[in-house]
């Protein structure tokens, strides 16, 4: 099978500082590939190398099998949607979208035709003459995407395009974007530091940390089986503990809490437990479930997302525990003691 994008050991150094550190990956044609990572981890730099705005220090980069070495941005079959959108404020919607086509010296008829078609596709018919500054955030978003897509790139690069929107609109746009990508079938490479965006939209997600990739996987695998402690901590919410001892299948946390986790073939240093992995008042006959005594410290009521903050009696660590959405444990009170279970598989241990 051929990939639309293939990257081999790409590295970028700024002076002594390595912003991107020997990253390799491939992207399938028509896929939605996300790169997820914290601020400053090198996402933008990687994207800019793909677009040609930054020259790689080492490594190779192929688009549809062709090396991109020395090819300037304006000659690459990729387009980029910038974090702040970068719509041209001095042009209206139509002119923004037509910009790239006009640079290719296409006949006016064709430009007009393709712009209209594209605007239909993103649902902006009737907005042709509007100033881009008069549009709402979501509409601006779509103009930016249309402007790039109209050039029919092999790959569309998106650099945190939802970053500037407010929370409600972001929730909405991420669903819309996923649907749009499915419809048109262009390959998307999507950068974000918001794990929820990456999980919801992507076919495949790469988690990036300090210039290198920690894990490339489907969203579900990433969430369920994080391969490194960084991924476990970064993707989804998690309670993190340091592990000070592991002997005879028993983990001892920093504060002294002891849990059975047999069968590890390495010396773990970190333990992660997801808030929703805890079972409140479990029936005592469940197998492979560790039971922990806790005391409720605070109820963090948040509708369907309500949690409690609890204190492990034996060891004195604080944990966050999700409450089931069905309001089953509504009447918990602060100070109350309760027994909590967690399946041994849900004790995720890491070497570092």
């Amino acid at each position: 099978m051929s990939y639309v994008l293939e990257i081999k050991n790409i590295t970028k150094k700024f002076g002594d500082f390595t912003a991107v550190d020997s990253v390799s990956f491939t992207v399938d044609d028509g896929g939605f590939f996300s790169i997820l990572g914290g601020s400053g981890c090198g996402k933008t730099t990687l994207l800019r190398m793909i677009a040609g705005f930054e020259e790689e220090t080492e490594g190779e980069l192929y688009i549809r099998g062709e090396s991109m070495k020395g090819i300037p941005p304006e000659k690459r079959p990729v387009n980029i949607v910038f974090q702040n959108l970068a719509l041209f404020p001095m042009m209206n919607v139509e002119k923004n979208v037509a910009f790239g086509l006009q640079r290719q010296k296409l006949p006016r008829q064709e430009v007009k035709h393709r712009v209209t078609e594209m605007l239909e596709r993103v649902g902006l018919v009737g907005f042709e003459k509007k100033k881009v500054t008069d549009l709402s955030g979501g509409q601006r978003q779509r103009v930016a995407i249309a402007r790039s897509l109209v050039l029919r790139p092999s790959i569309l690069l998106l650099d945190e395009p939802l970053g500037a929107l407010d929370r409600k609109l972001r929730e909405h746009m991420k669903i819309e974007l996923k649907v749009l990508q499915k419809e048109i079938g262009t390959t998307f490479i999507y950068i974000t530091h918001d794990q929820s965006e990456a999980l919801v939209m992507s076919d495949s997600v790469a988690v990036m940390n300090e210039g290198h990739f920690e894990q490339i996987d489907t969203p579900k695998n990433l969430y369920k089986n994080p391969k490194t402690s960084f991924v476990a901590g970064f993707v989804g919410e998690s309670n993190e503990f340091s592990v000070t001892d592991y002997r005879d299948g028993i983990l001892v946390t920093g504060s002294g809490c002891r849990l059975n986790k047999p069968g590890l073939d390495f010396q773990p240093r970190k333990l992660f437990m997801r808030p929703e992995a805890f079972i409140l008042n479990p029936s005592p006959d469940l197998e492979n479930v560790e039971l922990i005594d806790m005391k409720v410290k605070a109820i963090l009521f948040d509708g369907s997302n309500t949690k409690i903050s609890a204190n492990i009696l034996d060891g004195n660590d604080d944990v966050l525990i999700s409450l089931p959405q069905n309001a089953q444990f509504e009447d918990l009170r602060e100070g109350e003691e309760l027994k909590v279970g967690i399946h041994r598989d849900d004790l995720k241990c890491y070497r570092d």
Partner: protein, 284 residues
Amino acid sequence: MIRTLPCSRLYKVGYSLYILLFYIFLIMPLVTICVLAFNDSNFIALPWNGFSLDWFFADTDDRLGLFKDPDLMMSVWTSVETGFFVAMFSTIVGTIAALLFEEERFRFKGLLYFLALAPLVIPGVVLGISILLTSTYTGTYMEETFGWDMEFLSPGFWLVVIGQFSFGATYVMLLVGARLKKFDKVLEEAALSLRATRLEVIRLITLPFLRPAIIGAFVVTFLISFSNFNTTIFLIGSDPTLPVDLYSRIKFSSTPVLNAVSFMIVMFITFSAMISFVLNRKKI
């Protein structure tokens, strides 16, 4: 204190009074000039001898009005011409400099930028004499060695233009550069990514964005040129600009015709300012 903070009456009144005095201080010389431009007297002083338009229109032996004084009219025109060329050259080169320093990375950029800012901290007099020295010695050298008489190298219209341009470009660079700093460089990358060439980017994206600043810079350099004295005085030939002419008239003689020219300038500036104010307000 500030708009949103309550404060005592005395403080408010005292503060407003100070501001009022300040504005009186500001306006007083201008009003005096304007009023005395219409005084029916041969001297630029009180007492008020009644209203007269002589200093605009008279053409007698002891009263030569502004519009009948070809020398004065000529120096106004010289100033306008000088201002136009200075503004044009400064705007072009200053804008180019702004683009260069904001957008390109190269060796010795810091040094070059420092040089471009230098006119801010070089007294105008020094700029004038250094250019005078160099042009004169170069001109003499050219003449003595090759027998070329390069007129623009001796004091005169073009040397004034060159001298004023040498610092005018700095102001343009700063004004345009300030706007360029607000310019999102990503817009240029976006255009490149949409297959535009570097020159197309400048033409279609950067310059349109800069247009208000460029127009503003043109006007500013025109006005700077129009009122410059310190540099100009050393470079002037037989066509004095208005400030140089005014200076020599104040030094050698003075009749209220000077008030008349000043009055015209005050009115012109004030009206242009008001018009631009009203236009800008409409835009907002």
